[in-house]
């Protein structure tokens, strides 16, 4: 059988894609949103004033940490930059195991927690896209990694299935039912193919030591510390001396780092064993300045400020990993490249969505010829609506909750997330009570309405609305409001398209007109 190979790859592509399609859709869409993590966080904290990062930020942060967590074994301080003007700090809880982390968002002007509503902001989409929510962090990461592996298989088998990868660039036959879905799927997939392959493979590499620990465990039976030291030049932490010593001022160290990096910026400050004589202060270069995520860093002695270690370029394989990491999170990308990343991410989202819809369309046509539509087909169609049309609506609900939940309410940040999932569950139930494409139209339309009204709601309940942000030069918030309107337009266009769509005679006849003899012969083997 000449076409047997391609046929089995087509089968593999369909099933590998379908089984995890809905998770992949959510991962792709929230991951694309995560490219705008700082902007989302900024918009979701309308209390924050427009501010510029200053040279004293690191010093302010260290003072604040000394007041907040003097006994913590380590502090991680993310310094403000142009995109994120807050100080985001994490620290380990003091204790025998030292595993628990706490975090806070500080105002760089005062060092106090920001006087803003409690929210996860863009951090929610970022974390959801690799570890989901309501399941343990490890469970979530495993699930997403497994789905990413399916994605890789779907991409490779999809490429093999394709005879005409180049011609597909230029092929779109709208209004032809299943043909159009297939063309749309191919365009989204092929146009951004390098991006899809890159983002999937690098996504797997991010958690490779969790998914595939066998190499490192066999080569380093003594544990990961030795591996980290050799691979990434991260010196094992110095043990506590047990005698107290105060930290040297940080500002001179920051200036020293900038001098050594030719004007490069410090992005992160890591302090180990603060208050101890063996404290260290590590300054890590901002990840917006290099593609590679491998940290270029300087480590200083805490009490004296003497330089202990200068780690720069790693060994080749470590650098390759750093590049993969950096490419995936895309923080190096300037505005234009970031826009391209977002467009590619949306293309990936659309690729997954059209793939799921295509699956349902095909099986329904087959089922229609047999005269009955099975439970499986209806289940896929149902889940398609809830995942594809429901998720944008849930994201809008998240933003609505951010603006409407009372600012003083306990666990406010968690409740924003609960609202997101509640809205999504409603979208999952809604198709039960609707026939045919009605559920699609209503959910897309509701999403469009929810996004379109957000700037209006924003103007009603905050001072940071389009009229003020535009005149004050607060471009991020202004662009964000306009972007919400853009999302509304997109969803509205989808709703309109689906509502207007009438299955033409052509789309019903298509499978007979373009036969795939090999496919139907497959079960005979």
């Amino acid at each position: 059988m000449k076409d047997g190979f391609r046929q089995s790859m087509a089968w593999l592509h369909r099933w590998a894609g379908l089984l995890v399609g809905w998770v992949l859709f959510a991962v792709f869409l929230t991951g694309t949103a995560a490219y705008l993590r700082p902007e989302i966080s900024y918009w979701m904290r309308p209390e924050l004033a427009l501010s510029r990062p200053g040279p004293a930020d690191a010093e302010v942060a260290v003072q604040a940490m000394q007041a907040m967590a003097p006994n913590s074994p380590s502090w991680f301080i993310n310094l403000p930059d142009e995109r994120d003007t807050t100080l985001r700090v994490f620290w380990r809880e003091p204790g025998p195991r030292g595993r628990g982390f706490r975090e806070a968002v500080l105002d760089p002007a005062t060092g106090h927690p920001v006087e803003a509503r409690e929210t996860l902001g863009g951090e929610f989409f970022y974390r959801f896209h690799f570890q989901l929510h309501y399941v343990g962090v490890l469970w979530g990461r495993w699930i997403v990694s497994i789905c990413a592996m399916f994605m890789l298989v779907a991409i490779v088998s999809g490429i093999i299935t394709h005879r005409r990868i180049f011609a597909d660039f230029f092929t779109f036959r709208p209004g032809k039912g299943q043909r159009s879905w297939l063309d749309g799927h191919n365009i989204c997939a092929v146009l951004a193919l390098p991006y899809h392959l890159m983002i999937t493979y690098t996504g797997l590499v991010l958690f490779m030591l969790m998914v595939m620990p066998w190499g490192v465990d066999r080569a380093y039976p003594g544990g990961r510390a030795a591996f980290n030291a050799e691979a990434f030049g991260s010196a094992p932490p110095r043990a506590r001396a047990g005698s107290a010593a105060s930290l040297t001022p940080v500002l001179p160290l920051v200036q020293e780092a900038q001098r050594r990096w030719g004007g490069g910026r410090v992005g992160r400050v890591v302090v180990a064993n603060p208050g101890d004589a063996n404290a260290t202060i590590q300054l890590v270069r901002a990840d917006s300045e290099r593609i590679s995520y491998n940290p270029q860093s300087l480590t200083f002695d805490g009490p004296t400020g003497a330089l202990l270690q200068d780690s720069g370029e790693g060994l080749p394989a470590a650098e390759v990993r750093g590049w993969m990491y950096g490419l995936h999170i895309g923080r190096f990308a300037g505005p234009l490249l970031r826009a391209l990343f977002i467009l590619s991410g949306l293309a990936g989202t659309a690729m997954v969505a059209t793939g799921c819809v295509l699956w349902a369309t095909k099986t329904r046509q087959q089922a229609a010829r047999q005269g009955r539509v099975g439970f499986g087909t209806r289940l896929v169609e149902h889940l398609n609506v809830a995942a594809i049309a429901g998720l944008p609506l849930a994201m809008a609900a998240f933003f609505w909750a951010n603006r409407l939940l009372p600012t003083g309410m306990p666990q406010r940040a968690d409740w924003e997330v609960h609202v997101f999932f509640a809205a999504w569950v409603l979208c999952l139930l809604h198709p039960l009570f609707r026939r045919g494409r009605q559920a699609w139209v209503e959910q897309f339309a509701a999403g469009a309405l929810a996004f379109a009204l957000l700037p209006l709601l924003n103007a009603l309940v905050t001072r940071r609305h389009l009229l003020t942000t535009l005149s004050e030069g607060d471009h991020v918030r202004a662009a964000f409001d306009l972007g919400l309107l853009g999302c509304a337009l997109l969803l509205g266009a989808l709703a309109w398209k689906v509502a207007r769509h009438r299955p033409t005679p052509a789309s019903i006849r298509v499978p007979a007109a373009i036969p795939r003899p090999g496919r139907s012969a497959e079960p005979a083997r």
Binding site: G4, F5, S8, M9, W11, L12, M149, L152, V153, V156, S157, I160, Y201, L204, V205, M208, L209, M212, W214, G215, V216, R218, A219, Y220, F227, E230, A231, L315, P316, A317, A318, V320, R321, M324, Q366, R369, Q370, A512, P515, R516, P517, S520, A521, P523, A524, R525
Partner: protein, 114 residues
């Protein structure tokens, strides 16, 4: 009823003509291929990672990183093979041969074989 007379038989029409048991055999084959590709493929990727980590002529940490980064390509290739092979048994046999080859390389590199 299925339209056996049409030029391109549908899945339904084929099902009608199949001798009993064929459908079960097909599903069994798919199950075996899936297990071989997903489970066996992961085991093969893990084996390849260990062997390469210990035997690549690089610094130890570099060998581990190269091997682990490449492991997903190995796993993907194994899954593709599991579904591309002409029969499910050939798929399993191919994966076993790859595993045997890796083990042999490992033993030779460790100096346990001449």
């Amino acid at each position: 009823m299925a339209r056996i007379g049409s030029s391109f038989p549908t899945v339904a029409s084929l099902r009608v003509r199949l001798p009993p048991g064929t459908e079960r055999r097909r599903l069994g084959g798919l199950l075996l291929r899936s297990l071989a590709g997903i489970g066996g493929g992961y085991a093969l990727a893990a084996l390849a990672t260990v062997v390469l980590s210990l035997s690549l002529p690089l610094a130890r940490s570099e060998a581990v990183l190269v091997a682990t980064m490449a492991s997903f390509a190995v796993h993907a290739a194994a899954i593709i093979w599991a579904f591309a092979a002409r029969s499910a048994l050939r798929a399993v046999a191919g994966l076993l041969m790859a595993a045997a080859l890796l083990t042999l390389i490992h033993l030779v590199m460790q100096g346990q074989l001449p």
